[in-house]
C-alpha cells in the first residue's frame, strides 16, 4: 500500500482537502500524511470506509510538541547596494511559533495491512490549539486523545468526554510539553549530580538553604 | 392483684401505646406498626385468657394466637406494600404530607 496512491485517492474523493506527505528518513520508512483540520474527519472516514482501504483500526494516537525555535535562514534579498540592485545573502532570524501535533497510526484488521500514519498540526502552541477529534471515527482514540489533551493541551473538538485523564482535575499544566517546569518539590538527594544537582542548587538558593 | 389482671393491664397498656402511636405518628410505617402492636396486645389477651381460663387443654387461645399472628403478618406485608406503592407516587411516607397532597 503506497502512501502516494492513498493520497491521490483521498484527494479524488475528498474535495478541498490539503494533504502533504511528511517524509521519514529513518530506515523504518514510515512516511506519514499531514492532513488539515477542516477535512480531517472526512478524510478519516474515507480511510475507514473505503472498501479497499478499510483502515478500521486506529492503533496509536499520540501528541508531539514542537516548540518554537529560532530559525536562522539564509535568504537572498534584493537590496539596493551602492545604487545597484543586488542579491545579497543575509542571515535572517525568525522565531517560529512552534506547533503541537497529533499522530494517528492506522491499521486494517479486515485487510490486515497498515500502517498509515496521519498527522494533524495546531497552528501554534498557545491560542489555536484546537484539532478535530477523530474519536467519532475510531473509538479507540477516545482515551488517547484525552491523554493528549491532558499532557499536551490540544483541545479536540467533537470529543465526547474531554477531561483530564492522568492528572487530577485541578491540575493546570500540560506536563509533556517540552517547556513544562516541574514544581520544586525538593528532595534531599544523597547523590546529586547533573540535572538533579542543578535543581537542588536552585531550590536551595531560592529558599535560602531550606 | 391477680396475675391475670396484670397481664390484662399490660395488654391494655400495649394496646393504648399502639393506638397512640397509630394516631399520632406521621410516618405511615410506624402507624402500621402501631396497628400491629394493637394486634399483639390482643394476642397477649388470648394467651392470658387461655392460660387462666377454665379449660387450657382445649388450646383455643393458643390456636387463636397462632392464627392471629399469621394474619397480622399477612396484614403487615400488604400494609407495607401499600405504603411502598403510595410512596412511589407521592415520594413520601409522611401522612400529613400525603393528606396535603390529596388536597
Amino acid at each position: 500500500m503506497n502512501l502516494e496512491t492513498i493520497k491521490s485517492e483521498i484527494e479524488a474523493n475528498v474535495p478541498g482537502c490539503r494533504l502533504e506527505i511528511v517524509p521519514n528518513n529513518s530506515p523504518s520508512g514510515q512516511h506519514s500524511l499531514l492532513i488539515d483540520s477542516e477535512t480531517a474527519l472526512t478524510v478519516a472516514r474515507f480511510l475507514r470506509d473505503a472498501a479497499h482501504l478499510r483502515f478500521d483500526y486506529c492503533s496509536n494516537v499520540t501528541g508531539i510538541d514542537w516548540p518554537g525555535k529560532e530559525i536562522s535562514e539564509k535568504v537572498k534579498i534584493k537590496k539596493i547596494l551602492d545604487g545597484v540592485e543586488q542579491e545579497v545573502e543575509e542571515i535572517q532570524k525568525t522565531q517560529s511559533a512552534g506547533h503541537l501535533e497529533a499522530v494517528y497510526h492506522l491499521y486494517s484488521m479486515e485487510k490486515k495491512h497498515g500502517p498509515v500514519i496521519l498527522r494533524m498540526r495546531t497552528e501554534d502552541r498557545a491560542d489555536r490549539i484546537h484539532l478535530p477529534s477523530l474519536t467519532p471515527i475510531w473509538r479507540s482514540a477516545e482515551f488517547q486523545e484525552r491523554e493528549i489533551f491532558d499532557l499536551y493541551g490540544i483541545v479536540f473538538d467533537g470529543h465526547p468526554d474531554l477531561r483530564r485523564i492522568l492528572m487530577w482535575d485541578g491540575f493546570e499544566d500540560h506536563p509533556m510539553r517540552r517547556d513544562y517546569v516541574e514544581p520544586d518539590d525538593y528532595e534531599y538527594e544523597p547523590t546529586p549530580h547533573d540535572a538533579v544537582l542543578q535543581k537542588a542548587k536552585q531550590h536551595l538558593s531560592e529558599t535560602g538553604g531550606r | 392483684m391477680s396475675s391475670l389482671t396484670s397481664y390484662l393491664l399490660l395488654s391494655s397498656l400495649l394496646f393504648s401505646i399502639g393506638l397512640a402511636g397509630a394516631l399520632t405518628r406521621r410516618s405511615a410505617i410506624l402507624v402500621l406498626i402501631g396497628i400491629e402492636l394493637m394486634l399483639n396486645a390482643a394476642n397477649l389477651n388470648f394467651i392470658a385468657f387461655w392460660r387462666y381460663g377454665p379449660d387450657p387443654a382445649a388450646l383455643t387461645g393458643t390456636m387463636f394466637a397462632i392464627f392471629s399472628i399469621s394474619v397480622a403478618a399477612a396484614e403487615a406485608a400488604v400494609g407495607l406494600g401499600i405504603i411502598l406503592a403510595v410512596y412511589r407516587h407521592s415520594k413520601t411516607t409522611d401522612l400529613d404530607q400525603m393528606n396535603s397532597m390529596k388536597g
Binding site: - | I66, I69, S70, A73, A74, A76, A77, L80, G81, L84, R88
Partner: protein
C-alpha cells in the same frame, strides 16, 4: 419460677452477653491504661476505598428487595403451620395429611404465580 425450663436459656443468654461484653470491657480498659484512643477527622471518616466519601449511604433502595421479603414472610408463616403438622404427622391418616397438602399447594400456587410474574428476579 426457678424450675422453669427456660432458666438455662436465660442463663445462657446472660452468660453469652457477659462473654461478649467482657473482652470489649477489657479492650476498653487496655485503651484507657495504655493505648489511648486518638480519634481524628480523617480517621473517623467513612472508609471509601481511600477517597473521601461523597454522598450519603442511607439512600432509598429498590423496592425489588421487598418482594423477596414478602415471599419470605409468607413462607415463614407457612412453616409455623407446617411444624405442628409435622409433629403430629405420625398420628395422622392419609386423608388428614391431604389437608396439609392442599394448604401447601395453595402457597405453591402463589409461588408459581410469583415465578411467572418474574417477581423473583434480582436486579
Amino acid at each position: 419460677m426457678t424450675n422453669s425450663p427456660y432458666l438455662p436459656v436465660v442463663v445462657l443468654l446472660l452468660a453469652a452477653i457477659a462473654f461478649t461484653v467482657s473482652p470489649l470491657v477489657l479492650a476498653w480498659l487496655w485503651a484507657k491504661k495504655f493505648s489511648p484512643h486518638k480519634p481524628g477527622p480523617s480517621k473517623n471518616a467513612i472508609y471509601e476505598c481511600g477517597l473521601e466519601s461523597a454522598g450519603d449511604a442511607w439512600v432509598q433502595f429498590k423496592p425489588g428487595y421487598y418482594l423477596y421479603a414478602i415471599v419470605f414472610l409468607v413462607f415463614d408463616v407457612e412453616a409455623v403451620f407446617l411444624l405442628p403438622f409435622a409433629v403430629a404427622f405420625t398420628g395422622l391418616t392419609a386423608a388428614e395429611s391431604i389437608a396439609m397438602l392442599v394448604f401447601l399447594l395453595l402457597l405453591v400456587e402463589g409461588l408459581v404465580w410469583a415465578y411467572q410474574k418474574k417477581v423473583l428476579v434480582w436486579t
